[in-house]
């Protein structure tokens, strides 16, 4: 039931791609013309008309005539039989030998797997063409034997591809889950493995078959194949008459190229259609995270001109105040737009906060709250298509929007250092870590390579790495996560920045290592470095920060001194987020969980973004934008019409 339904869906979505549909039609025409050549061809393939040899296209001979006045179109149709049957033999051998071997090797592993891999390695080094010549030297003119050998030589390659696809699927969590619930291997292979590998097989087989057509025509061209008409012998005929009748090259080349292109295009279509079915949906549901989609045009925001605030931030009393010229970083009414499914959508709306020199400030929130995007927009590193549509980012009194490319580059790394989430993947795997720190140094200070290396060693010492000479010469994959993060911090400090932005710097680390990294950041802060910490973890926040801004669905909902925030949250979301941390709860008792999830940017409601999950929601929360206003005292701000009082929180 389900399989037929899904394969129908597959065909439909394949045919909805114009290229695939067109290729399928072209292939059908070629195959029909070839198979029914006896009925459809205007002439016999060897019918001669010596009076009309080597002529261009005419009404009698649509594609002209070749040597001895034989009709090119007819020879092409009949010749297709030889070529296509040869390709079919190669393709069938390829699949029959490669697929079972590959699937068995991938699913079962063990010794058989080793044999398949080794064979593939060895066969890869065999010069295919010469082996086919050997076969043809021994079996003269037996093209089909040559093609079967061609298929056999390709099969280990297919086996390897199928094997790694199978292995990949075997290691998928859903296959593990099926194994753990006792489902039979046969069922798993038929239900989960085969449907997913079949696309790969189809693609490999079509590309290989296309290669077989090339090979067969090549042999035909050399005159080593059958003596009958074939696409290859048409080219050979053309080559004999290059000087007098070059036209012959056109039809023979066109048919081969058209056929192979159609096969390859169809294979691409199959691959894409299958990929769509198996794409993990994370990207579809959420706004793109971080700079994953960033490309060369990422610095586009530098040119974005701030627009006067829209309706949403009109009433933001505190936020609309001028940027603080004494602050290290002053973000005012920042609104950022990014295309989601092609529609420009606000992903950050009216975000304001300041960081004073030497201060450690936290941005706390769940995924989808816009923390990382806020940080990226400070450095002008938004993903492609992302723009600051209103508001401003001011660093040490200078509006980032007014900076040119060179100034922006000096800002990044020079004034503001960046520490990222996954320490190992944040380092280039091909360079030693010392080299990378030295590169960061040289990007901001003209100095010799040797001096930069020495400075890099000093920086690595500063982040308390042991045995810096050895560590500096290591590659990222040779370091533990904690050491790699220290290297990342050293590189962020390369040009003595006044502020570092740390984007979830400890999320990928074990707790004991996390504590060490936090201690290091705390020491650096004590020496006067400003820190903007992005985190979802209240404990990490408490360990490092003096102040925090809580973000929800692209907005800052509350800003306060951390102690005041934790002990007396005024925004219902802050209170709820604190309450669902199991630290605060009685073991075994139900946690005061928030229902639902953070709405993605396209679904932000009118009014308060938290309204759908707020236990205290009132009618006025559903209309009009809500400004970030003074809280219970002037040191804090809250974006809520009905801020909580201390009594409500303890309830």
């Amino acid at each position: 039931m389900t399989t037929t339904a899904s394969s129908r869906g597959f065909l439909r979505s394949l045919l909805s791609k114009p290229m695939s549909a067109a290729s399928l039609i072209v292939l059908a025409i070629i195959v029909i013309a070839t198979v029914f050549a006896g009925v459809l061809a205007p002439y016999e393939p060897d019918a001669q008309d010596l009076t009309a040899a080597l002529q261009g296209p005419s009404s009698a001979h649509w594609l002209g005539t070749g040597e001895l006045g034989r009709d090119v179109l007819s020879r092409m149709m009949y010749g297709g039989r030889v070529t296509l049957i040869a390709a079919l033999i190669a393709g069938a051998t390829f699949i029959l030998a490669g697929v079972p071997a590959g699937m068995l090797a991938g699913y079962r592993g063990g010794r058989f797997d080793q044999v398949v891999l080794k064979t593939a390695d060895l066969v890869f080094a065999v010069p295919v063409m010469i082996v086919l010549l050997v076969v043809l030297a021994i079996f003269p003119g037996n093209e089909f034997a040559a093609m079967a050998v061609f298929g056999l030589l390709g099969a280990p390659g297919l086996a390897r591809v199928v094997r790694s696809a199978t292995l990949g699927i075997r290691n998928e969590l859903y296959v593990k889950a099926a194994v753990a619930s006792g489902i039979r291997d046969r069922v798993i292979v038929l239900r989960h493995v085969l449907p997913r590998v079949s696309g790969t097989i189809l693609v490999q087989a079509s590309v290989f078959t296309a290669g077989a057509v090339l090979m067969e025509t090549g042999l035909g061209f050399l005159g080593l194949g059958t003596q009958n008409a074939s696409w290859g012998s048409l080219v050979a005929e053309a080559s004999r008459n290059l000087g007098i009748h070059p036209w012959l090259l056109i039809p023979s080349g066109a048919i081969i190229i058209t056929f192979i292109m159609s096969v390859n295009l169809l294979a691409d279509g199959v691959r894409d259609t299958l990929a769509e079915r198996y794409t993990p949906p994370a990207a579809k549901v959420r706004a793109p995270r971080g700079g994953a989609k960033a490309n060369a045009g990422a610095s586009a925001t530098a040119e974005a001109t701030p627009v006067a605030g829209g309706a949403d931030n009109a009433g933001a009393a505190r936020a609309s105040a001028a940027a603080d010229p004494h602050a290290l970083l002053s973000v005012r009414s920042l609104t950022v737009t990014l295309p989601i499914d092609g529609v420009p959508t606000d992903i950050i709306r009216d975000v304001s906060f300041d960081i004073q020199p030497g201060e450690a400030m936290g941005l706390v929130g769940e995924s989808g709250s816009g923390k990382t995007m806020t940080a990226l927009s400070i450095l002008g590193l938004l993903p492609a298509g992302g723009r600051i549509t209103s508001g401003s980012v001011t660093v040490e009194g200078t509006d980032v929007a007014t900076m040119n490319k060179a100034a922006l580059r000096r800002l990044r790394g020079g004034r503001i250092g960046w520490i990222s989430q996954d320490p190992i993947s944040s380092l280039d795997p091909s360079f030693t870590v010392g080299w990378q720190v030295a590169e960061a140094v040289r990007s901001h200070r003209p100095m010799s390579r040797r001096a930069a290396w020495q400075h890099a060693l000093t920086l690595l010492e500063k982040v308390k790495l042991p045995d810096v000479e050895r560590v500096a010469k290591s590659y990222p994959h040779q370091l533990s996560g904690g050491m790699a993060q220290r290297v990342g911090i050293a590189a962020a400090l390369a040009a003595d920045p006044v502020l570092v932005i740390a984007d979830e710097p400890t999320t990928a680390l074990d707790v004991t290592v996390q504590a060490d990294i936090l201690a290091l950041l705390r020491d650096l802060q004590a020496d006067g470095l400003g820190v903007l910490l992005i985190t979802h973890n209240w404990g990490v926040l408490a360990d490092l920060c003096d102040r925090a801004a809580v973000m929800y669905a692209g907005q800052v909902v509350e800003t306060a001194d951390l102690r005041a925030l934790v002990h007396g949250p005024e925004h219902p979301y802050t209170a709820a987020l604190l309450a669902c941390d199991p630290h605060q709860a009685r073991p075994g008792a139900p946690l005061p969980a928030l229902d639902g999830a953070v709405p993605p940017p396209p679904q932000w409601p009118q009014g308060c973004h938290f309204q759908s999950r707020c236990p205290f929601v009132k009618d006025d929360c559903r209309t009009g934008a809500i400004a970030l206003a003074d809280g219970s005292d002037s040191s804090r701000a809250v974006r809520c019409h009905h801020p909580l009082t201390r009594q409500e929180v303890t309830l």
Binding site: V179, S181, G182, T279, D467, T512, Q514, H583, L591, A597
Partner: protein, 348 residues
């Protein structure tokens, strides 16, 4: 052929044998990995772990990356071959059980994994995924399958309408609920939860923990809950087993271990996990300073106490002899100085 299953949908039957015997019993489990293609010495992922999951209780398995906690879960589920030792489920040795033998146990023992995005085939509807094991292993009637599906979806707080949709249409938290529903349709008595909330946001984690707590009450489930997060384990579990370098270093009632640890490693873990209150956190930080630098770069010793190189309390003896688990009050710890450590308390 599998045995026909006529068990009522309500509760699985009690197994034969002593009802007071633990549901799951692991004895002296060793798991070695051989890195493929290299002639390196095998890696000891698990070194002699024993643990029991009594009926109706929840046991938390805590440790950092490389501690072997997930390997133990895989070995119990038969996803990783066991080098030596035994895994007994309801009195039956399932250490090297074949797939068809496991199929019989699968009705009582189920699993929920960490990554809610990878644990469902994206090309199969949620209903099909949730009922897959029911259809292929139990051969129940259509109506019975439908009933179990609806009940499981209801138990995890998902609407019946979601069965027709594909995994892509659900958020991480919703998928994790569905993964729990997949385990529930089999009417299990025991579920291995491998970091089921680690990939989730705090508010979603709270939802899932509530679902698990609620199911424990209503269905009388037992959990083996594998996590790196002591706080979560403390919240959900009766007992806590702390792993370090493939061996158990401490076990005992969750609140005892979490409040007065007897092993320096447990103590270091607790001191390292930050708490939301800035003042409390400052106090912890000082405790941690006193507890010494847990993350020293020295390589792990391969004889004596494996934790000695990171341990602020280590004495000469620790470098030569490996301590074994010994009772300390209500719990047990593998440390020569366990009594002293417990005496010190968490907030010295």
């Amino acid at each position: 052929m599998i045995a026909p299953d006529h068990a009522p949908a309500s509760r699985p039957q009690a197994p034969q044998g002593d009802p007071s015997a633990p549901l799951l019993s692991v004895r002296d489990l060793h798991v070695q990995y051989r890195r493929p293609g290299r002639r390196s010495t095998p890696v000891d992922a698990v070194r002699g772990v024993s643990l029991d999951v009594p009926r109706g209780r929840s046991i938390g398995l805590v440790g950092e990356s490389g501690s072997g906690k997930s390997t133990i879960g895989s070995a119990i589920l038969g996803l990783t071959p066991v080098t030596s030792g035994t895994v007994t489920y309801a009195g039956t040795d399932i250490t090297h059980a074949s797939r068809s033998e496991r199929r019989l146990h699968a009705r009582r023992m189920q699993a929920v994994f960490q990554d809610p995005f990878g644990s469902m085939n994206p090309a199969v509807t949620v209903g099909d995924t949730v009922t897959e094991a029911l259809r292929h292993n139990l051969k129940l009637g259509k109506q019975e399958i439908e009933e179990r599906l609806l009940r499981a979806l209801d138990d995890v707080g998902m609407p019946a309408s979601c069965a027709e949709r594909y995994p892509a249409q659900f958020s991480g938290g919703q998928r994790q609920r569905l993964a729990i529903a997949r385990a529930l349709v089999m009417n299990p008595e025991f579920i291995v939860c491998d970091e089921p909330t680690s990939a989730l946001d705090l508010s979603i984690q709270a939802q899932i923990l509530n679902v698990l707590l609620d199911l424990r009450e209503r269905r009388g489930l037992s959990y083996l809950f594998i996590s790196h997060d002591l706080t979560v384990v403390r919240h959900l579990c009766d007992e806590m087993v702390v792993l370090y370098a493939g061996a158990v270093v401490e076990r005992g009632p969750a609140h005892v271990v979490a409040e007065s640890p007897a092993h320096p490693y447990t103590r270091a873990l607790l001191a390292s996990a930050p708490v939301p209150d800035p003042d409390q956190q400052r106090a912890r930080r000082e405790l941690r300073l006193e507890a010494g630098n847990a993350g020293s770069g020295a390589p792990r010793p391969d004889h004596g106490c494996r934790f000695a190189h990171r341990c602020p309390f280590a004495v000469d003896r620790c470098a030569t002899a490996e301590p074994t688990l010994a009772p300390v009050g209500d719990s047990a710890a593998a440390c020569f100085l366990a009594e002293d450590i417990r005496e010190r308390g968490l907030l010295a």
